[in-house]
Amino acid sequence: MSYNGNSSYAIEARALDVYYGDYRAVHNISMGITRRKVTAFIGPSGCGKSTVLRAFNRMNDLVEGARVAGEILYRGQNLYGDDVDPVEVRRRIGMVFQKANPFPKSIYDNVAYGPRVLGMRNKKVLDEIVENSLKGAALWDEVKNDLKKSGLALSGGQQQRLCIARTIAVEPEVILMDEPCSALDPIATQRIEELMQDLVKTYTIIIVTHNMQQALRVSDYTAFYNIRKQDVGNKEIRWGELVEFGPTKQLFSDPEQQETADYISGRFG
């Protein structure tokens, strides 16, 4: 991918629609994700926030029948352009999932997996990458003596930090986090949130969360999505739209839209 972007946006969506087969899941999303900031996606279940997130690194390609209309620009290039290989997209734009999903391998092999699939074989370099990544994910001190232990033997919070270490091992520019704390207890959640504050110095982070307090705590920008409904004939169709997007403090203290105000004050959703 050639670099010709001088834009301050890491990723920019322009009039993005995402379809699953004939079903349009989200409609007309236009937004710019600021470099080296945390952007939070909030909204009720089914509003399409995860769908947009997964469109950003072409993870939706793995779903049968998924396609997009509109553009997603990364470094000035449309991610869905004909000459773009999704394999490269996912390396540049990494992902951390809702449920920690370490491979059934050792901690070391989990972190080294990404560099290895990219062709890195040098043991010394791999050792260094593994150590730096685990340090970057604030896990090194806890596991440095057990690198041979299975990743599945760790606690839930440790597993999620292992997944973050695994993601940063391939040195992406953007990290997408899909409700990374929804399966964790409050202490593990707090550690991940602290970690995000460290990571954002190097990476652009987008986090989908159901927890508005979390969005308020960790994010610089917040995007609020909501569900739109329309009756077509005797059938109701639904899709998600971006309602409001702006600096987090402003969106929570002084939302422009009444819908946003209703949602963040807990009146619905």
Binding site: L62, R90, G94, N101
Partner: protein
């Protein structure tokens, strides 16, 4: 619940009295007990059926036999044969069976195919063995009996020569056999009967399944009949089946699960694969006959490599036919194993920039291998017991030549069992039972290997 306690009032408590509820509960529990009893009974029934089968086989594979020596050893030498020295034993062979010395050399020493035995020079026939150097250029037919006897005694020890005397000259034969159960419970009556009817012969306990049985070739006599040719045929054919069947089936399953898009063509293919699994095996035999034996006869007979002594009815045709036979089951099973690998593992791998093939080969397959192995066990166990398709493809029912490669004529253990059970003599029933025990043992060993490797490889999420 005590009667004094006031039940919570609600619609259910108003409509169903405490008494009704109690009676209902007892009926509900009773239905559960009946179901449980049925399930337990089903297990007992299955176990009893299996036990009966095993007992029936064991009952036939062991028991008392009357052994009659074709030639009484006491007429051969003054002292017992096992006490004789090697030269004395060789003398007996030369005296009693001069025409069979050649055959003994062929069976125990020859390094060339039996068809070349009489025409090849001795340095080829006895390559690596001890023979007089002046005989290197001549054929076995140009040697004298004394020279042949010398070759025998130079290459074999006293024990081997003794065995040759027993098998070629004394030739003990089973003339009467009893099953295990009467042998244990009714021994006195059997002894009396044997003493009355076979006064000159000895009554012995015989295990029909033995190392000799496994390592001997077929024979028209039940006493010396062995399973070696059929067992080798089974191993060769299983090797062909596994080598061709497993990669193709697993490859097809990977394609269907990981690559093919979910459209109607793929669904038709999948449905048809499932239907193929239900087709009677004899039809695969007809397919194998038409395709592998006839159409591809030039390949399966080895003619394209210049091998001309067979038609297409070879180990290769049989193995390929069985590979076709087990493929549907293998594919369906491998698909299920691959599908059972959590989606999260695939997503994690793709999310790190792995390609599809890297994801499949480094994450999906290793995680699916234990499940795939289960299918391999099931299908190879099925293939090893198949008889009908191989009869159609052209197994030889009586063959004394061991298979030596892909292009050999063959028989397999189940066909050998079938052939033995159809013989009228009681002794062949014993031999068949022994062969069944060997076949079952091979199957159990195969399953054991697969189960152990499955347990070692399995991962938990």
């Amino acid at each position: 619940m005590s009667a004094q306690e006031q039940p919570i009032t609600g619609i259910l408590n108003r409509e169903v009295s405490e008494d009704q509820y109690r009676r209902n509960l007892r009926a509900r529990q009773r239905r559960g007990t009946v179901a449980r009893g049925f399930f337990f009974g089903a297990n007992v029934f299955a176990l009893l059926a299996l036990l009966a089968l095993l007992l029936h086989i064991v009952n036939q594979a062991f028991g008392l036999v009357v052994i009659r020596n074709t030639v009484d050893p006491s007429t051969l030498a003054a002292s017992p044969l096992e006490a004789l020295s090697e030269p004395e034993l060789v003398d007996i062979i030369v005296r009693e069976a001069p025409n069979r010395v050649r055959v003994m050399i062929r069976d125990s020493l020859s390094q060339v195919p039996d068809t070349d035995f009489t025409t090849a020079p001795l340095d080829a026939v006895l390559a690596g063995k001890i023979y007089p150097p002046e005989l290197a250029e001549v054929t076995i037919n140009d040697t004298t009996v004394e020279q042949q006897a010398a070759i025998l005694s130079d290459n074999l020890g006293q024990g081997d020569i003794h065995d040759l005397v027993i098998s070629s000259i004394v030739r003990p034969l089973v003339v009467r056999s009893w099953n295990l159960l009467p042998s244990l419970t009714d021994r006195a009556a059997i002894e009396a009967e044997a003493a009355a009817q076979y006064p000159d012969d000895s009554l012995q306990f015989r295990a029909w399944v033995s190392w000799d049985f496994i390592t001997s070739s077929v024979s028209s006599s039940a006493t010396t009949a062995g399973l070696r040719t059929a067992l080798l045929g089974t191993f060769y054919i299983m090797a062909v089946t596994a080598v061709f069947g497993l990669p193709i089936a697993i490859g097809a399953a990977i394609y269907l699960e990981e690559y093919a898009s979910d459209n109607w063509i793929e669904r038709i293919i999948e449905t048809n694969i499932r239907n193929l699994a239900a087709i009677p095996s004899v039809i695969y035999g007809m397919l194998g006959l038409a395709v592998f034996v006839r159409a591809l006869g030039a390949v399966t007979s080895g003619a394209f490599l210049g091998i001309t002594d067979t038609n297409g009815r070879t180990v290769l045709s049989a193995g390929l036919t069985l590979a076709l036979l087990i493929m549907p089951v293998l594919i369906v099973n491998a698909q299920e194993a691959i599908r059972a690998v959590p989606r999260a593992i695939r997503e994690a791998s793709y999310g790190l920039g792995a390609t599809r093939w890297q994801t499949v080969s480094r994450q999906v397959l290793p995680a699916a291998i234990p499940g795939i192995l289960t299918g391999v066990i099931l299908s190879l166990s099925r293939a090893i017991g198949e008889t009908a398709p191989l009869l159609v493809v052209g197994a030889s029912t009586f063959i004394g030549i061991d298979p030596s490669g892909f292009f050999s004529k063959f028989t397999v253990v189940p066909i050998q069992i079938y052939q033995w059970t159809s013989r009228p003599e009681q002794e062949f029933k014993n031999v068949a039972a022994a062969a069944i025990i060997v076949l079952l043992t091979v199957m159990i060993l195969m399953n054991l290997v697969a189960i152990i490797s499955r347990n070692r490889l399995s991962v938990r999420y």
